[in-house]
Amino acid sequence: MLFLDLLADGVVTGCAVGVVAVTFTMIYSTTRVFHVAHAGIYTVAGYSTWFLTTRGLPFWLAIICSIAVCAAVGALIQHQLYTRLARRDAPPLVLLIASLGALVVIQNLMAALFSPNILQIPADWRVLTVGIGSIRLSMPQILLAVSSLVIFAGLLAWSRYTSLGKRTRAVAANEFLAEITRLEPRRVYITVMAIASGVLAVPGSLTALDHGLQPYTGTLVLLTATIAMIAGGMGNLFGAFVTSVILAALQTTSTLVIPGQWSIAATFGLFVILMIVAPTGLFARRPR
């Protein structure tokens, strides 16, 4: 059935977007930086995995290396850029523009190093498909959905049960409080950036494996993710993930009723209206 097929495709895409949204939310609620360069990390993930597999590394090993690469790039951006700006009391607008600068640099560095053309990670098994009822999904799609759910659950557990995760939530709740109780927010920030960037390597690489990679595609993924973050209720990891899946599924299934070229406009239009009607989002907690 066409609706189910479209829904499945949308949900898979939504899972990848969900990981971006959850990690973006983690970063935003702790560091208060609107970290648009996150889209650049997503791009780095694909290229790093592509580079390593073409040099003969097996795919799974390449992904593990990419996790390290992304974590390092994320930590570097935090340490070299945001921390320095924060020391100068930079307002959010300045941080945002600096982040935008970092995004432009990363994307074009990839284009300069690996050409602006679409690249394909070499792995024969990527074209295999699996049928679930009438729905057919490719191997990378299945891996993408499963790994995204695992990462999502992992991040939720991390923030609830580990001491570092709890500390992160403390910093997110009140930076000043965290500072006086010696939680060292600067170091917590770097850790959060490293973790959030590192896990991005998994969906970044799998999406690239599934349908190729280009330098500039991360931006639209991030846009959907930020919208999911806001619509899902600021700082709410669960809301961010679920809204991502809903948004992506809506984008594909809505083509059944409205012409395809309007589906993106319709999704964003809907979001703008939601923002006017309910600025605190769908899954917002009650204000304190």
Binding site: S115, P116, Q120, T129, H211, T255, G260
Partner: protein, 372 residues
């Protein structure tokens, strides 16, 4: 045979040497190519640049145009209209170019009025938006426009293959939308029906929702123009993964699909044109590429056309002005390069072939000419 070739090469080299000496005295001929060498279209822009570069080097190595070295300035348009206008103004002002080579529909349409006012010849090797046909008396298109290609394709599909219904997957960009509209018009003209049409966003490579929808309409064929040529492998993969997908048909843009597993049986129109194999080899060697793209070929060809016109002007002792370039181009009318090209209007009439991918190779199954 091989011996003769060697001899002639030697002769050419000798001649070249003497020409070069002479050429240093003569003034350079300066033209410009306005290409997107940065931005999202840069990958195509690069291929185009290689074609121009190769032709220029080849011409100069052979002694230039009647002793004048050919110099072509590459000026970046980023694929944007305003940058293209600035670039053309820059070339006219600083380098007094009488003729330019252009790329992509939007920048080309943007410079058209300026070209008319300044009387500068604009040669368009590959952009196919229908509006280009009447954009300026100074703009010449050496590729048939989308309208012509889709007409040939639709005629073949309906009349020869007896296909009745089609779905469309098109790129939501200038060329993509033109292709879609033209195909709908022509396919209906020949009695076919369109069951669905789905856009893909430029630079998006997840085609699955559109593939699913196109297949669900159960058409005889699916017309597609996935304009970003290098995203075709992803398209072919996803069509293969879907399984049982109707026959895919398309225009020149589908050419790179041959050679990809899964594209067997697809039909596409091809604007006839080929370079001598040794030129192909030389181009691949020079730029380290695995094949010579349509863009490289056509830009090579158009550079040679400009050189041919310039040569003829020199022979007739006319000044190298844009106006003279235009009159001379229309006077010569027919050019024999990668293909036989003739200008009855501002858009060339060229042979269009119908090819089918058979055993991963595009095989000619029919010939067509516009206006049948």
């Amino acid at each position: 045979m091989r011996c003769t070739l060697r001899v002639s090469v030697c002769a050419a080299v000798l001649l070249t040497g003497s020409w070069v000496n002479y050429a240093q005295a003569a003034e350079d001929i300066t033209l410009a190519a306005l290409l997107p060498t940065s931005g999202p279209s840069a990958s195509v822009g690069q291929e185009e640049q290689q074609g121009v570069q190769f032709a220029m080097d080849e011409i100069n190595a052979a002694g230039g145009i009647r002793g004048h070295m050919l110099r072509i300035n590459f000026d970046d348009t980023q694929g944007k209209p305003d940058q293209a206008v600035l670039a053309l103004n820059r070339e006219i002002d600083l380098n007094k170019v009488p003729a330019v080579i252009t790329a992509f529909s939007a920048p080309s349409l943007a410079i058209a009025p300026l070209a008319t006012r300044k009387k500068v010849l604009v040669l368009n090797p590959a952009a196919q938006a229908d509006k280009l046909g009447t954009a300026s008396p100074y703009m010449f298109n050496t590729m048939p426009l989308t309208r012509d290609e889709t007409e040939v394709l639709a005629h073949y599909l309906t009349k020869t293959l007896g296909k009745k219904t089609a779905s469309i997957i098109y790129e939501n960009s200038a060329a993509g939308i033109d292709g879609r509209n033209d195909f709908i018009e022509n396919f209906k003209k020949f009695g076919g029906a369109i069951l669905s049409d789905e856009p893909i966003q430029p630079a998006d490579t997840n085609f699955r929702p559109m593939i699913l929808k196109a297949a669900a309409a159960k058409p005889d064929v699916v017309f597609t123009n996935v304009i970003q040529g290098d995203s075709l492998p992803q398209f072919v993969d996803q069509v293969t993964q879907h399984g049982g997908f109707p026959t895919v048909v398309g225009t020149t843009f589908l050419t790179p699909a041959m050679g990809l597993a899964g594209s067997n049986g697809w039909y596409y129109t091809a604007i006839r044109g080929a370079l001598p194999p040794e030129t192909d080899q030389a181009i691949m060697k020079k730029f380290g590429t695995k094949s010579v793209s349509v863009y490289t070929r056509e830009y090579y060809n158009d550079t040679r056309i400009l050189a041919r016109v310039a040569e003829s002007l020199i022979d007739n002792q006319k000044e190298l002005t844009g106006e003279n370039f235009r009159t001379e181009l229309m006077r010569i009318r027919t050019f024999d390069g990668v293909a036989k090209i003739s200008f009855d209007t501002n858009t060339a009439v060229r042979n269009i072939d119908i090819l089918q991918v058979q055993n991963l190779v595009g095989t000619k199954v029919a010939e067509g000419r516009v206006g049948e």
